[in-house]
């Protein structure tokens, strides 16, 4: 078996016992990137020389005993909206095509302190706005299971890279499903943590009140291990929360006996693909067989989640993206007459269609005269949605449902109807609005051979419950298959 087939924790062990060196491991993944990235287009930036240099440094630190954690020497990939000092961080945008951050994001710093080796920066929908990774200035990422299909988004590059074994694990960011939905489409596992668990310092903001960085990996154990490392109380982020229950790997127990799992009826209506429905319900049966109490319930207000999400996310984005103006960094148009012309031209040329659409929508809902009708109403809806979840979690430990209404659509079929694309976020956005943790785990493939994901949602700070349920499910099945194993990609 090739080195790239192992999980992050397996690689960490091999490195620890000197079975392989950090450099060999990194080199194996760099070779995989060279071989497969023309197919997947997962990466925007890879600097092989720097990777190998860093691998050597980490090796000496392992050798002298200063690094001994489970991820020491393990390679990783990071979504390109997370700042890495001196390494291009583009947000998938022409606007930041040559942008070199002056500092490293806290989550990445935490991983570097644990000895992880950064392979490169992954492809994404521009400024994390999109559900397919087709809205990237660097071209669409392609699904390793079928290159004519999308990876999902916006962390499509991070998910495809894990699926195609171009890296053992990666970081994504999730504002409305951007970790979970592409994880589902690419057949990998991804966690969106409770809001405030992972520092946002260095994550280039899309919707500040919704954004969270999270892990993407081959399995639940790797995700738990990475989440344990990236979670921290960071005083540089005012929304960061001090938690004492960050030992997520302690929840890797193959035991769901007595766990109460609720399935929202509203998640299984006509909009859901029949094959996805069948696979997710089959997964629920497996958990039931293993001792969980599974029952249906009504989660209210489901249909209001998508509009509330787009109003809030776009409102915040319209302000967050105002700093990209051609003055201080990033793209500036070549010719202009005066300041305002420079602003207009730089932003018109530097941003893509979807980003401009969301900036305009956000500016509109915040405008005087519309603020109450849209933005304020969306905030109220958000509070009510949170109350619906509170009611549910008073009864259930975990909410189970599909991650997305379908499997990965074909390339080019989504962007022509943005409304339809937005509605595809129906199962994921409410988790962000309520600040909850959610995990997507593979639970089968459809008749086209494309992966299906199951989403498990927990109450705030209850990552351990969803990790336990996901882990127990994973132990039971044979669902996680690699696209390499089934020959979808070489």
């Amino acid at each position: 078996m090739s080195l790239t087939g192992f999980t992050a924790l397996e690689l960490g062990k091999k490195i620890k016992v000197r079975e392989v060196s950090v450099k060999e491991t990194a080199a194996a993944f760099l070779a995989a990137i060279r071989n497969r990235d023309q197919t997947t287009n997962s990466f925007i930036t890879v600097d092989e020389e720097q990777v190998l240099k860093r691998a050597e440094l980490v090796q000496t630190q392992i050798d002298n005993g200063s690094l001994c954690g489970p991820l020491a020497g393990v390679p990783m990939a990071v979504k390109d909206n997370i700042c890495t000092k001196g390494i291009k961080t583009t947000c998938g945008s022409k606007m930041l095509d040559q942008f070199l951050p002056t500092y490293t994001a806290e989550a990445v710093r935490n991983l570097e302190c644990a000895g992880a080796v950064l392979l490169g920066k992954t492809n994404m929908d521009e400024f994390a706005m999109g559900s397919t990774t087709e809205a990237s200035y660097y071209g669409a990422a392609r699904n390793p299971w079928n290159e004519r299909h999308v990876t999902g988004g916006s962390s499509g590059g991070s998910c495809a890279a894990v699926a195609a074994e171009e890296c053992p694990f990666s970081l994504g960011s999730d504002t409305g499903g951007s970790i979970r939905q592409p994880s589902s489409f690419c057949g990998v596992t991804g966690i969106k943590p409770t809001y405030g668990t992972v520092s946002r310092y260095g994550l280039i903001a899309y919707g500040s009140s919704l954004d969270q960085i999270g892990p993407i990996a081959k399995n639940v154990s790797d995700c738990a291990a990475v989440l344990e490392v990236i979670s921290s109380w960071d005083q540089k982020d005012s929304t960061s929360i001090q938690r004492r229950d960050l030992d997520f790997t302690s929840a890797l127990l193959d035991d769901v006996a007595g766990m109460k799992i609720g399935i929202p009826r509203d998640y299984f209506d006509d909009g859901l693909d029949a094959e996805v429905r069948a696979a997710v319900l089959e997964a629920a049966d497996i958990l039931k067989e293993r001792g969980a109490q599974v029952e249906w319930f009504d989660l209210g207000l489901v249909k209001y989640a998508v509009p509330a999400y787009y109003v809030i996310a776009c409102a915040e984005a319209s302000s967050n993206l105002a700093r990209f103006d051609g003055v201080k960094y990033g793209y500036r148009t070549g010719e202009y007459e005066g300041l305002h012309h420079m602003y207009k031209k730089s932003r018109s040329e530097g941003f893509g269609l979807e980003v401009k659409r969301r900036i305009m929508l956000g500016s509109f809902v915040l405008s005087s005269g519309y603020y109450d009708a849209y933005y304020l109403k969306a905030l109220k809806t958000r509070t009510l949605l949170k109350q619906e979840f509170d009611k549910a979690f008073a009864i259930y430990d975990v909410i189970l449902g599909p991650t997305a209404p379908s499997t990965a659509p074909a390339l080019g079929s989504s962007l022509e109807d943005p409304m339809k694309m937005y509605l595809g976020d129906i199962y994921t956005v409410s988790v962000n609005l309520a600040g909850l943790p959610g995990i997507s785990v593979p639970c089968g493939t459809d008749s086209k051979g494309l992966p299906i994901g199951m989403q498990l949602i927990g109450d705030c700070f209850q990552e351990k419950k969803i990790i336990r349920a996901a882990y127990a499910f994973e132990q039971s099945g044979t669902y996680r298959r690699s696209p390499l194993a089934c020959g979808a990609i070489e």
Binding site: C83, I204, S319, Y329, H340, L366
Partner: protein, 479 residues
């Protein structure tokens, strides 16, 4: 015409707070420093950076609010004010619109005629300052210096309760003094650490409704404020008298030309698209926190004036002047602690110090000499080491260069000569050389002795005690 109309004035005062670091990052607020030396990812709006609130800013804002009798908002929030301008690195300013930290306060001012009047405080909110654009004519480009970006400000918004420029100046003076006493800011208009925008409208006397108002900016001194108010009130009255309407607009005062011009009108007023800043969490102010800040409030001017009269036996007049600046009051108190002679310290401060400050166009906070040295000078005079003429000379030197008076007197040999035999020689010499005056004195013109004292002091190079000289001359002339 003035009697027919009433002027209505409200003020928006920006005050730069005296914190060591900026409002949302750890960068220093110190003046000077190379361009962009005092910056970090946060105050230059780098992607991915996040603001973290400086607690000292909240405490200063609270302290000012409590001193102005405001209600403290127990759960305050910050909002983003969105607008594009290059001095604003994020293209939004973090400010407070929906839940400002203080509301509904008041301040009592004393009008010219001694009448007391209350001016309402609508609100106080916290916000961040912008950077500075430096236009390089030679290179034909603009440079942005973000050293001031993120320096904390509070904006104190009054109710439209003022009617004359005198009331406005009295309000600003009182406000400035309170904030200086709190140590929350040095409040210097010229340097921009205090900036006042004047909202002004006029209406027919007796009318209930307010007229259309204008907002006047770029007022850099009390004098400019008074002039701008007179000018704007007259301009609006002229408009109304001739049947024209006042346009709601922002105007810029040109102090050199003594007039103002329109910057932007309401029609092109910007929509700032305010919304709660999601990067900052709501802050709760507890009873305990308020009590803590209250307990730290200093003695304010009114209390100080009372204490100076009671504890130091100073007249009201002295106490009022000495407390007219926090620095001066602090100086007075330190000098008294050393010298234990409050009235003498007061006399030096109110007399010579004020004279020299005026002469050099300086403010009381620019005093350079130390209270210890003033106490020393008082001691030298009281002990008869120097006479009062020499003392004034030494004081001037001390005022300018903060010299140690004792050392200076010694180095320059300014001690009063108490050597009697030397003085006797000089006195007999002066009598010998001025027979006319001697004759006048002896003939009954007692004033003639003054000339002889002067001549003796001159011969002694001022270092004699004039009283001893006078005494000795009398003795000699009686012989």
């Amino acid at each position: 015409m003035g009697k027919e109309y009433e002027t209505v004035i409200g003020l928006e005062v920006h005050v730069e707070l005296a914190t060591k670091t900026k409002i949302f990052c750890g960068c220093t607020t110190a003046f000077g420093g190379a361009t962009n030396a005092h910056t970090c990812p946060v105050c230059t709006g780098m992607p991915g950076s996040l603001p973290v609130l400086n607690q000292q800013v909240v405490e200063y804002a609270m302290a000012v609010g409590l001193a102005l009798d405001c209600e403290i908002t127990r759960d305050f929030k910050f909002d983003r004010k969105n607008y594009f301008y290059p001095d604003n690195p994020q293209n939004y300013q973090i400010s407070q619109l929906y839940f400002p930290i203080c509301r509904n306060g008041k301040i009592e001012i004393e009008a010219e005629d001694g009448q007391k009047k209350q001016i309402g405080i609508h609100e106080i909110h916290m916000e961040e300052d912008a950077g500075k654009l430096v236009h390089d004519e030679r290179e034909d480009c603009s440079i942005i210096d973000f050293n001031r970006s993120g320096v904390p400000l509070i904006e104190i918004v009054s109710e439209p309760d003022m009617r004359t420029s005198e009331e406005v100046i009295a309000y600003l003076d009182k406000l400035r003094l309170i904030i200086q006493y709190l140590g929350a800011s040095d409040c210097k208009l010229q340097e921009g650490s205090m900036r006042a925008d004047v909202n002004l409208s006029v209406r027919r006397a007796g009318e209930k409704e307010y007229g259309t108002r204008t907002e006047m900016k770029n007022l850099n001194s009390f004098k400019a404020i008074a002039r701008a108010i007179e000018h704007e009130a007259n301009r609006q009255m002229d408009l109304l008298a001739s049947g024209e309407a006042v346009i709601q607009e922002t105007r810029r005062w040109d102090d050199a030309r003594g007039c103002s011009y329109a910057m932007r009108s309401k029609e092109d007023a910007k929509d700032y698209r305010y919304f709660p800043d999601p990067d900052l969490v709501p802050v709760h102010i507890s009873d305990a926190w308020i009590a803590e800040v209250k307990a730290r409030q200093p003695e304010f001017r009114t209390e100080k004036i009372m204490r100076y009269q009671e504890e130091f036996g100073l007249p009201y007049y002295d106490a009022e002047i000495l407390t007219g600046s926090k620095k001066l009051a602090d100086f007075f108190e330190s000098a008294v602690t050393v010298s234990q002679k409050p009235k003498k310290v007061s006399n030096w401060l109110m007399g010579e110090t004020m004279r020299l400050l005026r002469e050099q166009n300086m403010e009381a906070d620019e005093i350079r000499f130390s209270p210890k040295h003033l106490a020393e000078l008082i001691h030298l005079t009281d002990a008869g080491v120097i006479n009062s003429t020499v003392a004034k000379e030494v004081f001037e030197e001390m005022f300018r260069n903060d010299v140690d008076p004792k050392q200076y007197v010694e180095e320059k040999g300014l001690m009063t000569v108490n050597d009697e035999s030397a003085l006797r020689g000089v006195v007999s010499q002066v009598i010998k050389e001025n027979p006319k005056s001697v004759e006048d004195y002896r003939g009954g013109k007692e004033k003639a002795i003054g000339f002889l004292v002067g001549q003796t002091m001159k011969a002694m190079k001022g270092k004699a005690n004039p009283e001893s000289v006078h005494q000795m001359l009398k003795e000699f002339l009686a012989q």
